[in-house]
């Protein structure tokens, strides 16, 4: 596989200039994720409003291009979605990365679909799967109100 398929422009862009970076105001859910082997850390913050919609979402942390890009893209896609959709998306993400399953367009705009699928190539680099899934595991932990930091080394 050509490395530029992994490190293509979209990933490099989000890796260098992550969107929704920082702590969002008045978040009511958050969780921390670590990948002790790599030293990657992430903290996801989100506001779930009364009708269970992700009103705002952001993240802080440090890591490789893939983990930062994956976090950044995740926040862009999940913002404005219902909690149910967010949970469906994270399951679809794990399926895409780990089982190579293509994701259906349903519920995603053209642009969101492109961004979501841009990380599919990571599946072909088994050692890097954890980098891409860390933010999504942390999102799940935030939705589940998991108090203890999660550890992607153990989950994946």
């Amino acid at each position: 596989m050509d490395l530029t398929e992994l490190y293509h422009d979209l990933i490099l862009d989000h890796g260098k200039k992550p969107r929704n970076f920082g702590k969002c105001n008045k978040f009511n859910h958050d969780a921390e994720g670590h990948n002790p082997l790599c030293g990657d850390n992430i903290h996801v913050y989100l506001i779930l409003d009364t009708d269970k919609k992700v009103k705002d979402i952001s993240f802080e942390g440090s890591g490789c291009a893939i983990s930062v890009a994956s976090s950044s893209i995740m926040t862009e896609i999940v913002k404005g979605k219902s909690e149910k959709q967010a949970r469906e998306l994270l399951n679809a993400f794990f399926k895409m990365i780990k089982e190579g399953q293509e994701i259906k367009k349903a519920g995603l705009s053209e642009d969101e679909h492109i961004k979501f699928s841009s990380l599919a190539g990571v599946g072909r680099f088994p050692m890097r799967v954890k980098c891409a899934t860390l933010s999504w595991h942390t999102l799940k932990a935030a939705l589940d109100d998991e108090k203890k930091p999660i550890n992607s080394e153990i989950i994946d």
């Binding site: 530029t4 992994l6 490190y7 490099l12 790599c38 030293g39 440090s62 490789c64 893939i66």
Partner: protein
């Protein structure tokens, strides 16, 4: 030494034709002699050691014990002071655990900021007993500031446990100075020699420390074997670390007496085939001669440092003046893991991460780094190849 011949003694490079291996500090590849010795023992001579009186077992035991002798000679140790463990980590845990039994609330241990987690975490356990841990700082270059040791010592200081050669920066600690300061104050000294053996001269009689730990798999030997040199006085005074078969003298329903000597610390069936094959690894190193290994690895390290320094966006993790055959760096703007993936595409094995040295990385204000470490099988072409790969990496990440 004839390098081509040496590389050809490592089957891994036949099976992986284009492999360039820069991860000897993590674990060394194995020469054919070691692999053959494992196979020969399992196929032709296998029996558990130390237990039975039949010939097969007696011969296996003698073969096993002769590795102890070989190791003793190799590091110029003393008869009866070489203990086999499962790795360097276990050797250090043994020291911290057993030595820790003598410590009381308020007693002090001194480490350095360059320690591998395996020479910090075992000591950390003693904080439960309210034992304090102090660190000799490292400076910007990654050098242990040994001149600050005296000011850290109090009448509560009981042991100083330090790294011999850093697995990140390659720094070589001034052990002579540390040991002489410690001796004057009757403080014990433990040394993590995991990266030093087979890459530098190790003479335990000359050093005269209390403990010295290293691993077989880092010196071209099999996995699953660690070595702990400990002075006889500690062999006598320490309580056993593990209990079970092989470490007892007499057992009845009320009392147990322990075996004397190193057996006290070697409970249960040991990695006999691996210990026996380790002898071949030591022979391999001795045949090449440590002084030749040093000059080979030093010349590679200088060549690599010179070539990699030419990239304007490379940052080194410390630059200790007295360095072994290891160093670490980052390409500014590219995370170490991303760079390592790019190198991997060119069959270049380089470890990325904090290398089990988070204190050092935090002190240097970096999260992770790329580590280059050399073994007898590396050559200048390997270094030219990684420089090409660094160029490729810069291109992928659109760096100028």
């Amino acid at each position: 030494m004839n390098l081509k011949d040496i590389k050809s003694q490592f089957p891994i490079f036949k099976f992986n034709k284009n492999l360039i291996y820069f991860d000897t500090a993590n674990s060394a590849q194995k020469p054919i002699q070691v692999i053959d010795a494992l196979e020969d023992f399992y196929k032709n001579h296998y029996a558990n050691i130390g237990r039975a009186v039949y010939g097969l077992a007696a011969r296996a035991t003698a073969d096993f014990e002769s590795t102890r002798e070989t190791i003793k000679e190799f590091v110029n140790g003393t008869e009866g002071e070489i203990v086999f463990t499962k790795n360097s980590t276990e050797s250090l845990n043994l020291v911290a655990h057993c030595f820790g039994k003598f410590l009381k609330e308020g007693d002090e241990i001194i480490l350095t900021e360059a320690e591998h987690h395996s020479n910090y975490v075992p000591w950390h356990f003693l904080r439960k007993k309210k034992v304090n841990i102090k660190f000799i700082p490292i400076n910007e270059d990654g050098e242990v500031e040994v001149n600050k040791l005296t000011s850290l010592i109090t009448n509560k200081t009981k042991i100083i446990s330090v790294i011999h050669i850093s697995n990140v920066t390659g720094l070589t600690t001034d052990l002579k100075k540390i040991i002489s300061i410690a001796k004057a104050k009757k403080i014990s000294v433990c040394i993590d020699g995991t990266q030093a053996v087979a890459h530098s001269h190790v003479d335990l009689k000359d050093l005269d420390c209390d403990f010295y730990a290293f691993s077989s798999h880092k010196i071209y030997g099999p996995t699953g074997v660690g070595i702990l040199y400990m002075k006889n006085k500690w062999i006598e005074q320490f309580e056993p670390f593990n209990g079970g078969g092989g470490m007892i003298q007499n057992v009845d329903t009320k009392n147990i007496t322990y075996a004397s000597g190193v057996s006290k610390f070697e409970a249960g069936s040991l990695a006999s085939a691996e210990v026996i094959a380790l002898k071949q690894a030591v022979k391999f190193v001795k045949d090449i001669k440590v002084k030749n290994i040093i000059s080979h690895e030093q010349s590679l390290a200088s060549y690599a440092l010179e070539k990699i320094s030419k990239f304007n966006d490379v940052e080194f993790v410390g630059r200790p003046s007295n360095k072994g055959s290891v160093f670490s760096f980052n390409i500014k703007g590219v995370h170490a893991h991303d760079a390592s993936t790019v190198f991997d595409e060119d069959n270049i094995a380089v470890r990325a991460g904090h290398h089990c040295c988070q204190i050092l990385h935090k002190k240097m204000k970096i999260g992770s780094s790329l580590r280059m470490s050399f073994g007898v099988y590396n050559n200048k072409q390997d270094i030219d190849a990684i420089c090409e790969s660094i160029k490729k990496c810069k291109k992928i990440f659109k760096l100028k």
